[in-house]
Amino acid sequence: MGLYWSFGTVLLLLAITAPTALAFGFGGASAARSRIAPLRLFGKGYIAIVRGVPDIAFFLFFVLALDIFFEWIRHEIKCPDWTDSIWQGNDFVVCDVAKLPMNNAPQWIHETYGFFLAVLTFAIVFGAFAANVLYGAMRAVPHNQLETAEAYGMSRRQVYWRILVPQMWVFALPGLSNLWLVLIKATPLLFLLGVEDIVYWARELGGSKTPRFTDYPHGDWRVWYFLGLLIFYLAFTRVSEIVLDKVMRKLTHGQATMAGEAQRKAAA
């Protein structure tokens, strides 16, 4: 049963992470082109830092770091009279009430918390990439459009929400769809984060705990599980490509771009 659930886990992760990362990206891109200098610096810094470092180091790092960060915040709030340092030698110690999840919490809370951390990590990392794409897309919207809107007396905020944001999607979509394909391919990393995803199960089902000793009474079936996974991902990628192609055609409709023009001519 676990194997089937794990497919659900992967799909759920994608379903939750994609919008969250998009929101992070939108926030990051908006911050990066803000008029307020610290906010702009923050937005640009966020994009630059996450993009510069190997991804899986980030996945390994963020899960631990976020965990520590949350516990530390709760520690500061819940146990203000704790005098010892939270770093004792090589150990990180917080008071019992600040533990996340609680020591006595049922198993499913532990699993949900792990899943939540994974989603947050994915969202932070992919948010930075999405922010970069959206930032580029915002700059690609023809400047005349914005100037026209200003000439009509729209305020900065109105220009942003009514002109810039609706038009930027068509420029952002190629980058975003690329990102989506990458996100699909990133989900097996979940298993590194300790969430029981399909890779985890494919390994478990093979039976042996120690992959170094390879004498099985039966053949080694894990090859076939992984072949199945490979096909699952390939099919998923192919379907996504087809769907995104359709979306792109929809979005191009009526846009002042070459593709939009071509579509208009083809229809006429």
Binding site: G52, I56, A57, N90, V199, T214
Partner: protein, 268 residues
């Protein structure tokens, strides 16, 4: 123990030379730097070999995808889709278990189950597919005038390819290929996190960084060290590829030279 002794003991630990036992407690900054740096040797080994071998297969695949022969074209396109459409992670797992399953058939497959050969093959095929796509794109955008000029000089076949098509293709593809090279090096960190076991704790940089993070429960030291090494490596790659780029573009007037634009991509 002074830092020099640590370097002497652990500098080549990842190759199995020097002290056998990894440090157990009281981890110093020097130990972390040395061991993670010694792990980098593996990252460099995988990256350099896969890249230099993959270059040739990539050229072949790119030519194959542009070929007039249906069989060659289709098989090249499928090769590229297979490796670009599925997670590298799953490819590692699949290859590892495939080699494990092949092992009982013939002792020839023995070395394939260890990382130095098995993972290298996967990385080689993977980078060939990614760079094949880049080269294919560049091949499509070789200016027609160049080919016509070659025809006018009476060049055809091999001579035309070697003197006109291929250098132009490389010149056009080079900025994107630089990114691919950087990403290949980042991807080498996945090797010991997939099926391939780190025999006698001889792992790559991320393996040791993870080792320290697990032992100290403090991700804030080993991962930044890892990031530092990778940024250093990335700078080396950029300057080396920049030199080659200069040479490829040396016949062009100053302003027409392709600028190296670094666009960092994500997980493969």
């Amino acid at each position: 123990m002074s830092c020099w002794e640590t370097i002497a003991d652990y500098g080549l630990r990842s190759l199995g030379i020097g002290e056998r036992v990894l440090p157990r407690e009281g981890f110093t900054l020097c130990q972390q730097f040395t061991l993670i740096g010694s792990g980098m040797l593996w990252n460099i080994y995988f990256g350099v070999l896969a890249l230099s071998a993959g270059f040739f297969l990539a050229t072949a695949v790119a030519l194959g995808k542009a070929s007039n022969n249906v069989v060659i074209r289709k098989s090249s396109a499928w090769f590229i889709f297979l490796f670009r459409g599925s997670p590298l992670f799953i490819q590692f797992f699949f290859a590892y278990f495939l080699f494990l399953a092949l092992k009982p058939i013939s002792p020839i497959f023995d070395p394939f189950t260890s990382a130095w050969l098995g993972a290298l093959i996967v990385l080689f095929l993977n980078t060939a597919a990614y760079s094949g796509e880049i080269f294919y794109g560049a091949l499509q955008s070789v200016p027609r005038g160049d080919i016509e000029a070659a025809d006018a000089y009476g060049m055809s076949g091999w001579a035309r390819f070697k003197r006109v098509t291929w250098p132009t293709m490389l010149r056009l593809a080079w900025p994107a290929y630089t990114n691919e090279a950087i990403f290949l090096f980042h991807a080498t960190t996945l090797v010991y996190f997939s099926g391939f076991p780190a025999w006698q704790q001889r792992g790559d940089a991320l393996y040791y960084a993870n080792f320290f993070a697990d032992k100290t429960f403090n991700p804030f030291i080993p991962y930044p060290i890892l990031a530092f090494y990778f940024i250093l490596l990335t700078l080396c790659i950029i300057s080396l590829f920049g030199l080659i780029n200069r040479r490829l573009n040396r016949h062009l007037p100053q302003e027409a030279r392709a600028k190296m634009k670094l666009k960092l991509n994500v997980i493969r």
